[in-house]
Symmetry: C2
Subunit: 463 residues, 2 copies
């Protein structure tokens, strides 16, 4: 008799081709004109889940992009129920503008990588889950766990309507654990379980100077140039030591305990990985914290974009009327995103010169999250990684990114959330040439297969 | 017998309609796709000049947009020869992006204004000249001066090929004075003659951080954000007192003499005009110089544009790979644009942090110019303004803008340049809702008619 693992290996080529099919759908949730493509990607998942045997699966309408929801609840009351979450929407990508080497929505395989927008974030992991389920069903005829599946179409636009869906379906979504594969592992040979995620507050800073664009020769030198004023404000948002200068920014940040710093220090930090991922030699930021601490345990403030005046080809001697920056903060536990927004807003107001007007607008927020490392499903993930990654012991890390719904799931459903990812920080999520290593796609499928049986065993033993 | 002035008044309505026709051609020299429209505007002028009787007129090919060149040399050796210069290309304009209230290339008349891109800069004055010539010819049958006419199609892209045309035609372009209507007058009831124009150096400042756009959650806090680094660099380009901080920036700037400051102070500065033009209450800049001195007699450094990362609708949590600013300096006499570029480049290099790379690229340069206020053609302009503006005495001003070819004409042809404009600083040149007052269009035509006869008289008397 064939085992699920053997089945997955025998079907590896087809499993990749199926992922390619989903990657070809440009399901960019931020682009209104692509709403139809987002829906098409959701329908693709519904069809795929129907094909592999889900007894129940549907495209749930929301006020925005639809949610794929499926159930497979045949494992009985002695088996745990897992709420699986992933997302099928992706970040925007333009081959020319964003400097891709190939078309973002025409997946290619090269140097052992599947290259396409969404390959690592998050279509690759999503399809890996479906392939793991198919492998178990096709070889054993039954799942060892009960499954509830949410695949969201709005993760990249801050999960606008997922909260309402969860709140309206608290009974239906009841589960023993939530499983999410939307984080990175530490290194190719070091799997990792994320136990901390940062929150997020996303803002726009607008500076208004003269009422209209002016001729720089006629008014230059008498008007406070709003691009320059924006630069002056941005410069003052950080202190020379790399810390954020916004008054009160760190008020709720808990100091890292010596124990946790020691534990984090055990994670083998490789500066070479950082240098490879960034192409840089010199890091920047809070020198008293390690790089790993800076991205995981410390809040940050970043400029995501900036625009003012004329920035096309050639020369236009304009004195711009206005300037704008997109600014986001990554937050740690106990930092309330809305309160941080208010502090940024008030600080910007306090440093804005009288010669211009400024406004800080709130775009969206997401809460930070901390996961219990000692919970049963997290321990099942430890076993699954060991089995799927050739015996490698996973490490526990604080992740710099934000998955706001993790905090929501923990709060609303009261269940532990297992963050079991397969990609790498260097996969180029949100950037050009995003990729997912073929090897880790297949290792991910096997790890998921192991997870379901390990969790079922631990759960049964614990009863 | 009808006089030229009477003819111009009788034909006022048609004269405006003809200007509208030229304004409808989107001759944006900076936009490669509109090259055909630039040529069409040039051909429109050739046709119009042919219609009013120019014995010789042609569209001269260059490596870029064509030059309109015409001659009318029938006034004889006792009459002066005027080299008339204007330009028929315009700045870019987009109704939505640039916040126009009407279509930039569909001229409308409202509240006594002709509203369209190019109306004041410089199609209105160019057509005014042709209408003045037509009025003289149709009523007197002959011009009192010899005319050589250059209408350029590349003024807004730094007159890329005009210098070569002038150099190659020094004999052909020989004249007693150069006449240009591409400057503003001081106030609606105060005509003015510009005797000083600033030079220009236009640059791009590029900052490169990581090799690609990165995920702000994964790398934020460890990488010097290039948008922030650009902001830090831009902030340091000025001192807190509004002066330019670039080392050596003012080395060649001649201090304003007490006599010239006193003369400039006589020009009635109206802060209300500045406030109306800018929509602002508080000026900015070098407090020890008057606003008029700041825009005319002092060099400046302005940010013309800025771009980095994601600046579209919505949120993208990117850590940008690069950031860019367009920067230009207005220069006064004795400042060499290329040397100023080198000083900006070296200064930026000296303040660029080791965590990013920067580069300052030179886009183009133009020399500053000073005109002899006592020359015969300038005195003819004084008389013409008095006649055309109801007896108003013109004032002499230093203009903040740049017409690099003024310096070229003075240097290459060795003749005085008369800057006799009709628009206002508040006409919105280079900005949205550019307009030219109907009244000043017609006053301009009459002033030009008076200029030709006044100059002919002075010239004959001086022989």
């Amino acid at each position: 008799m064939t085992s699920p693992i053997e089945y997955a290996r025998a079907n590896a080529e087809r499993f990749r081709q199926d992922l390619h099919a989903l990657l070809r759908i440009p399901s960019v949730s931020a682009t209104p004109e692509l709403a139809g493509e987002v829906r098409r990607a959701g329908q693709w998942l519904v069809d795929e889940m129907t094909r592999i045997g889900f007894p129940s699966v549907e495209l749930v309408e929301t006020a925005g992009h639809p949610i794929v929801y499926g159930e497979w609840l045949t494992a009985g009351a002695d088996a745990p129920t897992i709420l699986l979450y992933g997302h099928y929407d992706v970040q925007p990508a333009d081959r020319v503008k964003d400097n891709w080497d190939s078309e973002p929505f025409e997946p290619i395989e090269k140097d052992g990588k599947i290259i396409a927008r969404g390959s690592t974030d998050d279509k690759g992991p999503v399809v890996a889950h479906l392939k793991a389920i198919e492998s178990i069903i096709q070889t054993t005829g039954a799942l060892p766990v009960n499954l509830k599946v949410i695949f969201e179409g709005e993760e990249e636009v801050s999960s606008l309507h997922l909260g309402a869906f969860v709140s309206a379906n608290l009974d239906r979504l009841k589960a023993d654990a939530c499983l999410i594969s939307d984080t990175s592992i530490y290194a190719p040979d070091i799997p990792s379980i994320v136990y901390s995620l940062r929150g997020l507050v996303y803002m726009e800073l607008h500076v208004q100077g003269p009422k209209d664009d002016l001729h720089s020769g006629v008014y230059g030198g008498t008007v406070h140039n709003p691009a320059q004023a924006l630069a002056e404000i941005i410069t003052q948002l950080h202190n020379p030591d790399g810390s954020v200068a916004v008054s009160g920014f760190y008020d709720e940040v808990q100091p890292l305990s010596d124990e946790e710093r020691a534990a984090l220090a055990k994670v083998p930090w490789r500066k070479a990985d950082w240098a490879m991922g960034t192409g840089l030699e010199l890091p920047w930021g809070e020198a008293q914290y390690s790089l790993r601490e800076r991205v995981g345990a410390r809040p940050t403030l970043e400029i995501n974009g900036m625009a003012s005046g004329f920035y096309g080809e050639g020369a236009k001697t304009v004195l711009p009327a206005k300037a704008m920056a997109k600014i986001s903060c990554r937050l740690v536990a106990d930092q309330d995103p809305r309160r941080i927004y208010e502090r940024v807003r008030d600080f910007v107001a306090s440093i804005t010169p009288a010669t211009v007007k400024s406004e800080v607008r709130l775009l969206h927020t997401g809460d930070a999250a901390l996961v219990d490392r000692h919970s049963q499903p997290v321990q099942a993930a430890v076993q699954a990684y060991k089995a799927g990654w050739g015996g490698a012991e996973p490490v526990f890390v604080r992740e710099g990114g934000s998955i706001p719904i993790v905090a929501n799931f923990q709060r609303d459903l009261g269940i532990p959330v297992v963050l079991m990812g397969f990609g790498l920080d260097t996969d180029g999520a949100h950037g050009p040439n995003e990729h997912f290593h073929v090897e880790r796609y297949h290792k991910g499928i096997e790890t998921i297969i192991h997870f379901y049986s390990a969790y079922a065993d631990l759960f049964a033993a614990g009863r």
